[in-house]
């Protein structure tokens, strides 16, 4: 079988929710095509008047737009208020090897950080596809890398007006269990190199010291005792995707503004929900999806993180939706 065919068949593993969303989302686009055209024309007019899409947005406004687009839901007042309290304009630039990296805005709670960076190539160099910042690290006061429970991840790369932009995220909870920084304590962030199509084009480091507010919201533990429920497993067999469920006991379910942390015990050492079915349901009915963003797995024990598609405030949460219809309500 040709390798291309194997890859085509591998798409059968894509989460059913996303397969369905691609069709329903596309139909929505088709139905609103004329509206989209009008919006595009309006946007073009704005550009013609000399403004760029995000050029005049503050860090908070930029993150509101970005999270709203990412979650495909309008943000609640609480979510907007949280972003306003946590997002900061940074505007620090560092040039190394001819390439300038600018941290434009950042948003963090005490455990996770989002950073929007701009990457400008040297004069005469046109940014190409797959231009990436690599080797991200957060450093302690002695310049040593702090080991984290989660790896960093690049969430979005896009090209705009001759530069590359990257939205990058990292858990800043160290393996020792302490947050890497607290309110008022600066955080040192460094990137090692820039690559294009996997090959290095510039050697850093690009190093930034960020003084970030901690978002002001502590983690909230939802469980007072172990909670038996189900984990979900996906399999592709016999021509279709099948779902099966296995017994799980949640030991801890902690909500943070940007991420859920779930500790559980199971005979199966695998991710609780194969990625998708864990979501946060707000009191107004808004569903905020999560994505599995890593975990540590021991002997029948797991400690997993789920990144939220948009920030949440604990007081706005109604319940956490788990696989197989199980829910955990917020404590009174």
């Amino acid at each position: 079988m040709m390798a291309g065919e194997k890859l085509l068949e591998a798409f059968a593993w894509v989460d059913p929710e996303m397969v369905e969303d691609a069709r329903t989302g596309a139909q929505t686009r088709r139905n609103t095509g004329r509206r989209a055209l009008m919006i595009a024309l309006a946007a073009a007019l704005v550009l013609a008047l000399g403004a760029t899409a995000y050029g005049y947005l503050s860090g908070a406004d930029w993150f509101k737009t970005w999270f709203s687009n990412r979650d495909r839901e309008p943000l609640t007042q609480g979510q907007e208020a949280y972003i306003e309290s946590a997002a900061v304009d940074v505007g620090q630039s560092v040039t190394a090897d001819g390439w300038t990296v600018t941290v434009e805005t950042a948003l963090a709670d005490q455990y996770d950080i989002y950073v929007k960076t701009r990457i400008d190539p040297p004069a005469g160099v046109t940014p190409e596809d797959n231009c990436k910042l690599e080797g991200a690290a957060i450093l302690d006061a002695d310049g040593q890398k702090i080991p984290f429970t989660q790896r960093s991840e690049s969430l979005t790369y896009y090209q705009e007006a001759g530069a590359w932009y990257c939205v990058w995220s990292q858990s800043v909870e160290s393996v020792s269990g302490e947050a890497a920084y607290l309110d008022g304590r600066p955080l040192t962030l460094a990137f090692e190199k820039i690559t294009v199509d996997g090959g290095m084009v510039a050697q850093g480091p690009w190093r930034f010291t960020l003084d970030l507010p901690a978002g002001g919201t502590q983690a909230v533990e939802l469980l007072s005792e172990p909670f038996p429920c189900k984990g979900r497993s996906l399999a592709y067999e016999g021509g279709g995707i099948t779902e099966s469920y296995y017994d799980v006991t949640l030991l801890s379910l902690e909500v943070r503004p940007l991420r859920l942390r779930v500790q559980y015990r199971s005979e199966k050492e695998k991710e609780l929900g194969d990625g998708l079915p864990i979501s946060v349901v707000l009191k107004d009915g808004t569903v905020v999806p999560t994505g599995f963003s890593g975990g540590s797995f021991g002997s029948h024990m797991a400690d997993c993180r789920y990144q939220l598609a948009a920030p949440v405030l604990p007081e706005e949460i109604a319940y956490i939706q788990l696989p197989a219809g199980y829910t955990v309500s917020m404590p009174e």
């Binding site: 996303m18 369905e20 691609a22 139909q27 687009n69 016999g238």
Partner: protein, 188 residues
């Protein structure tokens, strides 16, 4: 009828399950099959095979998303038919072009074939798709899950065809980089 009720009919071995599936998801499944196969009659047979496949797979399966579940059966069945037709040199639809595009994500072509273990590759592709932002993900899946033509995608999303092609090329490059990062081409 709600999906859950249709699934209940399958579980109860009630033949109305097929009629309800046809009524609710027949058009969706037929579109998937037509994208893969050039022959309309083949595509319709494929959809009929889908109901049979679902009938045989349930009650062991209890899909939470019936539409995606049925479309997945159609896709698989249609790809198998496409392969059989190709050996008789009558394959068609969007499939040859899509395969050519996806081959870009497999450095080494045939020599890399052994490295592509289906299950691991499937999980990696699913994980990669989860990292994509909304519109990019939908465009990518319209092309490589549904095998929609570039022209149809452009019309649906209100983009030019060249923009769709460029989005797809960029995402394919990301997929290649992702698969490399996950170790698929490092001697496995």
């Amino acid at each position: 009828m709600e999906d859950e009720q249709i699934v209940d009919l399958y579980w109860a071995r009630d033949e109305r399950a097929v009629a309800e599936s046809q009524a609710k998801y027949g058009g969706w499944c037929l579109a998937v099959a037509r994208n893969i196969l050039s022959d309309g009659a083949d595509a319709e047979e494929c959809v009929n095979d889908t109901w049979l496949g679902a009938w045989n797979a349930m009650p062991e399966d209890r899909p939470a998303r019936l539409g995606a579940y049925l479309a997945a059966i159609t896709r698989r069945t249609a790809l198998n038919r496409w392969k059989a037709a190709r050996t008789q040199k009558r394959g068609g639809g969007e499939t040859p072009q899509v395969l050519e595009e996806l081959a870009e994500c497999v450095p080494g072509g045939e020599s890399a074939e052994a490295a592509l273990e289906a299950k691991e590759l499937g999980r990696a592709v699913a994980a990669f798709v989860r990292t994509l932002p909304g519109t990019e993900r939908r465009v990518f899946l319209c092309r490589y899950w549904y095998l929609d033509s570039v022209m149809d995608i452009a019309e649906t999303f209100g983009f030019s065809q060249s923009k769709v092609k460029s989005m797809l090329a960029r995402t394919r490059k990301k997929l290649l980089a992702y698969l490399r990062k996950e170790g698929f081409y490092d001697g496995r």
